[in-house]
Symmetry: C2
Subunit: 340 residues, 2 copies
Amino acid sequence: MARPVTIRTVATRAGCSIATVSRVMNGTGPTSAEVEARVRAAVSELAFRPSEIGRALKSLRTRTLGVVIPSLTNPVFASSVAGIEAQARARGHVLLVTATDYDPAREREVVETLIAQSVAGLVLTVADPDDNPTLDHLDAGGIPYVLVYNEPKRAVRAAVTVDNEAAGATLTQALVALGHTRILFVAGRFATSDRSRLRHQGYRAAMQAAGLAPSPVLELDYLGDADAHRSALAGLLGAPGRPTALVCSNDLLALSITAAVRDMGLAVPGDVSIAGFDGISIGRLVSPALCTIDQPTRRMGERAVERLFDLMDGHGARAVEHLPFHLRPGGTIAVAPSPS
Amino acid sequence: MARPVTIRTVATRAGCSIATVSRVMNGTGPTSAEVEARVRAAVSELAFRPSEIGRALKSLRTRTLGVVIPSLTNPVFASSVAGIEAQARARGHVLLVTATDYDPAREREVVETLIAQSVAGLVLTVADPDDNPTLDHLDAGGIPYVLVYNEPKRAVRAAVTVDNEAAGATLTQALVALGHTRILFVAGRFATSDRSRLRHQGYRAAMQAAGLAPSPVLELDYLGDADAHRSALAGLLGAPGRPTALVCSNDLLALSITAAVRDMGLAVPGDVSIAGFDGISIGRLVSPALCTIDQPTRRMGERAVERLFDLMDGHGARAVEHLPFHLRPGGTIAVAPSPS
DNA sequence: CTGTTAGCGCATTCAA
DNA sequence: TTGAATGCGCTAACAG
C-alpha cells in the first residue's frame, strides 16, 4: 500500500525492461529518445521515485549521513545540525540524527546503530575526541567522519572547530582589560566537553600572563536547575573578596548563572560581570546582551559536511580545521567595581 | 571495507546456515542451545550487526521515522524533536530529520525524499494542516503520520498540540485583568503557522468578550533582524494612544520584540507589557522572565511517536489530541500604566 | 531443529 | 540500443 510502484511497474507501463528504466533514471548507458520519452512519461504518471533501499542494497552505500550530538535542545548544536542538514540536502543526502545526552557510553551505542544503517559518513560531537574507543572503531572500519566543536590534540582526526584555548584567553583578557582581577571560571562538566577543558586552559594561560591567580574552577552540571546553580554560587559570591567576573564555559550556562546571580541580589554587570562561550543567537536578544565568543556555528556544520564528502571521495585530509571566532561585546560585562 | 561482515560470514564461522543465524538474531523459530551458543559466539567475535538495509528490503519497512519541521534553530521545534528522538530510540527506531525553512513548497520535496527512504512513518509540523496537498498525498499513500503543533480544524488528521485558541484567550485575559485595554497582537507570518492564526483568534475572542477592540494584527517575519522589528514597531509605539501590551505569537518573536522595544527607549514592562507563546526554556532565564504560554514541547514529541506507532500498528485514531498548557507568569507583563 | 531457497528493488554485467 | 539475468543482505516459507 505504501509504495506499490516499483521500477517494474514503470517498465511495464513504458513497455520496456527494468534495465532501461534504470538507465533512464540514472543517465547511465545509451537510450533511444523514443524509449526515454515513454519511460519519463510513465515515471511522471506513476509518480515513481526509486527506492533508496534497493539502490543502497546494491551499492552497499546509502545517501545518508549520521549525526551524533550531545543534545538537540542546546542551540549551539541545533545550529550546527541546521548547517549540516542544509549542506547534506544540497548534495542529495539525508540525515540520521541521534543525541547522546552527554553520555559517552551512548556514543558507542548510537554509532553502532548508525553503522547498521550503512550511513555513508558521520558528523559528530563527542565528549573526548582523543581518548575515544568509538572513534577508534570508526577508524578501524574505515568509515569516514568529521568532528564538530571537538578539537583533538593528540589523535589525527578530521575536525571543524574554533581555537577554544585562544578563545578562552581572548575572553579572559577582555575582562582583565576592564580591571577585573578575581575572575572565576565556571565550567560545564569537563568529562563531557573538551571545549570546556580547552577554554579553561586559555583562561588559565591568560590569567597567568596577566600576573593574576586563576581561581579553582567551579565545575557543575550546566543542565542543573537554577536552584542548583544558586546554591553552588552562594558560598563563592557571598564571601568577601568574591569574584567580580565569571567566565562561563558556554552560553546556556552563562544565561543560567546570570539568572542565579540576580536571584542572589547581585547586579549584572554592576556587581558581577558575566561572559559566555558559543555565540548562540538568543544571547543577542537578552538584556543586557550576553558578552560571548561568537563562533560560526552553522557554518561549522556546513563545513564539516564539505570535508566529509571530501573524505568519502578519498581526497580529504584528516586534520583539525580552525574557523575564526571573535569576541562579541555585550552589556553583561563592565569595568570592575571598585574595591569596597 | 566498511561492513564486510554479513550474515553469511557469521554462518560460516558458526558452521550453520544463514537461516539459523537469522533465527537466533531475531528469536524467531526454534534453535538448539548448542547451535545458538556457536552463533552467538561468532556474532560476538565478528561484531556482527545485521544490516538494516537488507532487513528493510525484505520487509519493505524500515525502522526509520521521518521528521519534518520548519527549523531546527527554533528551540520549540528542537525540543519536540528531542522528545521524538528519545521515544523513537526507545522503540528501536532512528530519525531522518529534515527542515523546510518555513517554505510550504519544500514540505512536499522533503516528504517525497523521506518516502523514497521508505520511512515507517512521519512526524511533522507544517504550515497549514487543513489545506495541504502534501498531507493529502500521505493520506492517499496510506503512510502513517502525526502532526505536532498543528491543529487541523477541518481535515481528519492525527495531531498532538495544545488548544492554541484557548491559549491565546488565556494570555489576553491575563493582560486584560491587569488593566490593559490597548493590546496589540504581533504575529509571525500567518501563511507559515496555523498556531499563529489560532492564537490570534483566541486573542480576538478574548478582546471582544472583554468589550475591547482588537487592534489590526502586526504581521511580520519573525526571523527578521532587530532593525526590521524596530522600524515595524516605530510607528505603532511612537503614536499617542499606543498599545500598552503586546501579545507575540511565539517566544522567539517576543524576545526579539522585547529587545526592539527597549532599543526604542521604552521600558518592559513599565511602558509596555510583552507576552509570548511556546514556553521555551530560555524564557525563564532572561530578566525579567518572559510571560508566556507553557506547553509540554518535549512531551508533545514523545506523544506524537506513541500515537504514530499506534497508527503503524493499525489501531490508532486520526484525531487531534490536546495536551494541557498553562500560563507561565513572568516579569515582562505588569499592570497597565496609568493614562498620561 | 535446521538447511535450502525465493524474493524484496535496484544497478549492472553480459548477451543479443 | 535493449533485455535477461545476477546479486547485494536479509527474512520467511517450505523441506527435510
